[in-house]
Amino acid sequence: MLISRRYLQPLVALCFLLFVPVLQADEILDIDDAWVAEAPPVAPVMGGYMKIENETNKPISITRASCPEFDAVEIHEMSMSGGMMKMREIEKLDIPAGGKVELKPGGYHLMLIKPKKPFKKGDTLTVTLHTADGQSQAVKMEVKERKASDDHQHHHH
């Protein structure tokens, strides 16, 4: 590269100035393995899962999720109660400072209500997570086939 030394330092500084605020605005959370389970084409709802990590030193609360391709997106918690699987919409999902929360089959999940078109395995969609302090983060999710072993609660023998 024919960039002389005297320009290099300011260039690097400029890069930082340009990108750091972008990173701060968009990547408040570190999200991995975001996927939506393929459902029968007639299914009125779909389940979405992801691993969410908060690398900041402050707790972050996700209060809402949205996706223009669905009527609504809710954050749910599953629990076994009185012999029934109970699904409950939660007000907020807290990700502790430096901690992580996993949305997985049989546990926390996103319930994507009334798809505006059928989604098949391989499709992608973007869900936006909104935090209590007014920030938001777009999460790209891939539609994947469920596996019977997705239910992590299973004890292996």
Binding site: P40, V45, M84, G106, K114, S149, D151, H154
Partner: protein
């Protein structure tokens, strides 16, 4: 000389008869054992097996082709039942996915009249029409059958199987509501009696092998 030959033949015949009766005796005892096993349970299963299968009393629902589905429909073959609803984002599709995999591990000989059938019973008849149920269950396996009906008839069935369900309040914005429900598979024997309950977490290979153990143990 002739006498000796004669006694040789007699011996051979006697031996054959003795072996045959031994074999027949063994066969009968096996048959008898299979028939009389009600009252005991096989070991090493991850299912709750009823030592005395419990007969079901009358109920009338309909399947996804609008054909009657009653206590009589459950006779003549083994049946798996799961209770849920199509607006279920997590528990029901997980269970049906598990059963889809288990199904591939269970032999389905067309000549086998008592081969198992899988019924997905919707406890949410207001939203789950026959057509919706049909397309929903067939996504998992073309042999799966959707069932629903009037609430009081559903309750007649769930009540005697120990299946619980309940509706949450409607969301004022979306009109959506959640249904809490039991997540176990129920196994009905070819006499139409409750034989076993398989609680979550579910594993396809375990369901397939446990079913075959139970079927072999109690017979059709």
């Amino acid at each position: 000389m002739q006498n000796r030959t004669k006694s040789k033949y007699t011996n051979a015949i006697l031996l054959t008869v003795a072996l045959l009766s031994l074999g027949l005796g063994y066969w009968f005892s096996q048959q008898f054992q299979t028939q009389s096993r009600d009252g005991a349970i096989p070991e090493g299963l991850e299912a709750t097996v009823l030592d005395k299968a419990r007969p079901l009393s009358e109920f009338t629902l309909h399947d996804h082709d609008n054909k009657p589905f009653s206590d009589q429909t459950l006779k003549g073959h083994w049946s798996f039942l799961f209770f849920g609803y199509t607006h279920c984002p997590d528990v029901c599709p997980i269970a049906l996915k598990v059963m889809q995999d288990a199904w591939k591990q269970i032999p389905h000989d067309p000549a086998d009249q008592a081969a198992p059938r899988m019924f997905f019973v919707s406890v949410d008849p207001d939203r789950d029409t026959s057509e919706l149920l049909k397309q929903y269950v067939r996504y998992f396996d073309s042999a799966f059958i959707g069932v629903t009906g009037k609430a009081n008839e559903i309750d007649k069935l769930t009540g005697q199987l120990g299946i619980l369900y309940g509706f949450e309040d409607k969301d004022p914005e979306t009109g959506n509501y959640n249904v809490n429900h039991s997540a176990q598979f129920v196994l009905i024997d070819p006499q139409g009696r409750l034989r076993a309950v398989i609680s979550p977490p579910h594993d396809p290979a375990t369901i397939a092998s446990n079913f075959q153990t139970i079927r072999k143990y109690y017979g059709d």
